[in-house]
Amino acid sequence: MRESDINSLIANVPKWEELSELPTPKEIIVGGELRESVIRDISRIKKEPNWMLRLRLKAFEIWKKLPAPNWLLGVEDLNVEDLAHYVKPAVSTKNDFQSLPEKILEFYVSLGIPESEAKYLSGLAGVLDSETILIRIKEWLKKKNVIFMETEEAVKKYPDLVKRYFSKIYPMADHKFAALHYALWSGGAFVYVPPNVKITQPIEAFFMISSSLESQYEHTMVIADENSYIHFIEGCAAPMFPKYSFHDGAVEVYVHRKAHVRFTTIQNWSKRIINFNNKRSVVEEDGYVEWLEGGIGARVSYVYPSAVLRGRNAKASILAVSIANGPYIKDSGAKVYHLAPNTKSEVIAKSISSNGGLTVYRGLIYMAKGAKNATSHVQCDSLLLDNKSRSVTIPHNQVLENSADVTHEATAGRISEDALFYLQSRGLSEDESKSLIVLGFMHDLIKELPFEMANILNTVVQLEFSKIGGVG
């Protein structure tokens, strides 16, 4: 978006940080000890085909065997058996706003979602708790044979298509919580873009968790066939309920020859959410994947968008911006696997730590033998707003190809007392000065966003830094 658009943004403050729970009617809640019967129950409720049940059970076996990752910080109190594994909200139909639960609709309106859907979006999916409660798609996409539906429906209607990709892009044995995701997955959106179709206006999926001690395991898939284009946007929100909830979603993106997928996430969970987001793309010859990730909310967040560049000239750009403001942890980064000649990747990771926050960059660049003349550049910039906050960079490069070129640059800066004083001497308060510096630091991300997402992000950042010192 243009600078003048950013300048004309008007703060329309969403109120979810003040809410304790969102009272929404629920039809089914499955909780308790995590046993095979729980998985069978969920599968039965969904009336899904047998192959999917078998896939779930296989993932469940892997979950039981895998150890908890020993590098995780800040999830000591996470016990998945305390959580509701599946929460089905009571919703009648899924294609109009009016059928949404009242509180959810109010929320959507306060965020401007119906308006942006009308103006900017090609499609919109709404996920609440464990189910997709809203799916809307513009007519012309249907005529072009674009498939956009909840993932469960695609499993039933297009089993062959789904089977080709489901769990093939993001492997279930990647880590313990990936296995758990596949055992319990529910909700999410499935998009298939046929060859040569370019969807110029984005499709958005919006995720909400309404109460404490819930888990959300949505599974989103974007399949871009040859020479197609799609921009998919994810937004996330949750109120400030009394206890924590757990988000362990997955996104699988397949970029066929010459296709281009841009996947944008604005993660603004409340500070009660433990967030895992397992994101991976596979990119064929001359394909291009872009991951744009703005991680603002959540108590603890683990997100590493990744790309497997398997075809010649395949390209990946990953831009991740994360903010840890308060006693929170943002562990993020990017992984790129270069498997073919002339593949290219660029990673820009920016983190902001404030008020005791910890940001971690964890990255992997892998250059396989035979990835001739592949290049990768990684840039990590971290900004510390005070002395209590920390930032850690853990880059990892594995280069098995002599002609490949990997470069890494890192900068770490503290906002200097003098820079703050300078801005304050112009009449801006300390908080205003900090939020301006943060917005400036995030400019690379903001300028890439569509208007309404940039609007949300701007508002969120200003809010975030207007309450420094009073973080709950």
């Binding site: 950013i6 200097s416 300078y422 205003e432 630091f441 400019h443």
Partner: protein, 251 residues
């Protein structure tokens, strides 16, 4: 009467006393100059009046229009009409000069969205930009980033012109400027003074004062006021240096 008063100010930084018992008063529309050799405490005085957090006021007060601002944060002082044009303005990454100017103006007008750019301001901004000898390109750059010494000084002056403070402190406004730059600065200072801004010029050299004939010149050394007088003092310093004043005092 609208005034900036400094009363018996004693200030330390990291337990070292840098100003002792400094007092003066400035009315709106007046020009005052604070002179002194390097390291005499001139910049400390400017930063203390603006409220830099590293400077601790041990005793004394600073007042704007009889209101004690000694314990106010810098932004509150700014909103009461104080402006400091820094000797060495810092680079602020991520914020464009235009954004800073719009934000500062929006803050003064009570506009909630600090980033809003009001098109009505643009003609005045363009005029001031030309007058101080900067271009549109400087507005789009991050504040002071990669600016030459002279460009930084011009940018400080531009901001002062846009914010129209009641009291403007210029710390070494002529260093790094060429002759034309010095002339422009002097003209703009006169213009602001004629419109009611009270001006403090902190300078080591007398050259800028030739254009301005301040009402009072205060000379400080080792954090203390050693002498004060009219414009003639600056000529004496220019001809014979600060040593001459010492002799004068010792006599």
């Amino acid at each position: 009467m609208s005034s900036l008063k400094v009363e018996n100010l004693t200030v330390s930084i990291e337990n070292k006393v840098v100003l002792r018992d400094v007092s003066f008063e400035l009315q709106r529309g007046e020009i005052l100059s604070i002179m002194g050799p390097n390291g005499s405490g001139k910049t400390s005085l400017a930063l203390t009046i603006m409220g830099h957090p590293r400077y601790r006021v041990i005793s004394g007060r600073i007042l704007i229009d009889e209101e004690d601002i000694t314990n106010l944060p810098p932004d509150e002082r700014s909103l009461r009409g104080l402006f400091l044009a820094f000797q060495n303005p810092v680079e602020v990454r991520g914020i464009r000069l235009s954004t800073l100017i719009f934000s500062a103006l929006n803050k003064r007008r009570g506009e909630k969205n600090l980033l809003k750019s009001d098109p009505q301001i643009i003609p005045l901004l363009m005029k001031n930009l030309r007058d101080v000898g900067l271009s549109n390109e400087h507005l789009q750059r991050e504040v002071n980033l990669g600016f030459s010494g002279g460009e930084k000084k011009r940018s400080e002056l531009l901001q002062a012109l846009m914010l129209k403070p009641k009291f403007l402190i210029l710390d070494e406004p002529d260093s790094g400027l060429d002759v034309d730059g010095i002339k422009i600065t002097a003209e703009k200072i006169k213009e602001l003074a004629s419109q009611g801004t009270g001006i403090i010029i902190i300078t080591h050299y007398a050259r800028l004062l030739k254009y301005l004939s301040p009402r009072e010149i205060i000379v400080i050394r080792d954090g203390k006021i050693v002498t004060r007088g009219g414009s003639e003092l600056s000529y004496l310093i220019e001809e014979k240096g600060y040593e001459a004043l010492n002799g004068d005092l010792n006599a």
